[in-house]
Point group: C2
Chain length 141, copies 2
């Protein structure tokens, strides 16, 4: 989670939406990323998507033994991607700011661990206070 | 659907996975794309994702009045993205090759129209016969 939060802070420092993610395979980070809506004008590069993209094309067997860490509860897009690749474990920094598709993931057999990290929460709260319109755009509101 | 199929054929000609998509807002195509797994080494650029990315950052009000056309039934990732942005209508070329998350989309109020287009189906069948491993990789198998 420390690495995901580091990614989120990188995003914040670049004027972006501070959500970060890392993909871990057998104890090693194979992909890391953060939301690039602002930085790349992207509609699809949420933190988790950027981490998965940066991990490159992986065989199914790799995804099925991965854990994805994300500073914020995964939205429908990121949750769908987790389901597509059969990633079995998701560790969520916090879900007070935004509750993603945790119930859908659980219903499909994904293990969700929410760590309630104060630093993840505070970073998002600070960002939303500063740029509420950007946050709404990112979650399709 | 003709424009989505044209995108799929572009992908096929480039050695890629032949799935195409267009995003239509008030009768005008605002984004078009095709699967770029091979061409860009991408794990996330399915046809629908590429079309949405190429449409750029749009306000929520635009997505909520869009129809997305895709030559193949949308996988969990693309379906999740449709839900994230609240795209209300999906037109599917075919779902015989692959049945995506149509039931989930319908349960969330999305209108799905399957046109059973033979050209979409034949293109995918030809591709899967030629490159089965690539197809499996794309759907996380």
């Amino acid at each position: 989670m420390a690495a995901a939060l580091e990614e989120a802070r990188k995003g914040y420092q670049a004027g972006g939406i501070p959500i970060g993610s890392v993909l871990v395979y057998q104890g090693k980070v194979i992909g890391r990323g953060h939301n690039k809506r602002v930085q790349q004008g992207s509609a699809i590069l949420h933190g988790e998507m950027d981490a998965l993209e940066n991990a490159g094309r992986q065989p199914a067997a790799v995804y099925k033994d991965c854990t994805i860490y994300t500073t914020l509860s995964p939205c429908p897009m990121c949750s769908g991607t987790i389901l597509l690749y059969g990633i079995p474990r998701v560790v969520v920094g916090e879900n007070r700011t935004f509750m993603g598709e945790e119930e859908l993931l659980k219903a499909r057999g994904v293990t969700i661990t929410v760590v309630n990290d104060e630093a993840c929460y505070n970073l998002m709260q600070q960002f939303i206070k500063e740029k509420p319109a950007l946050w709404n755009e990112d979650i399709g509101v």
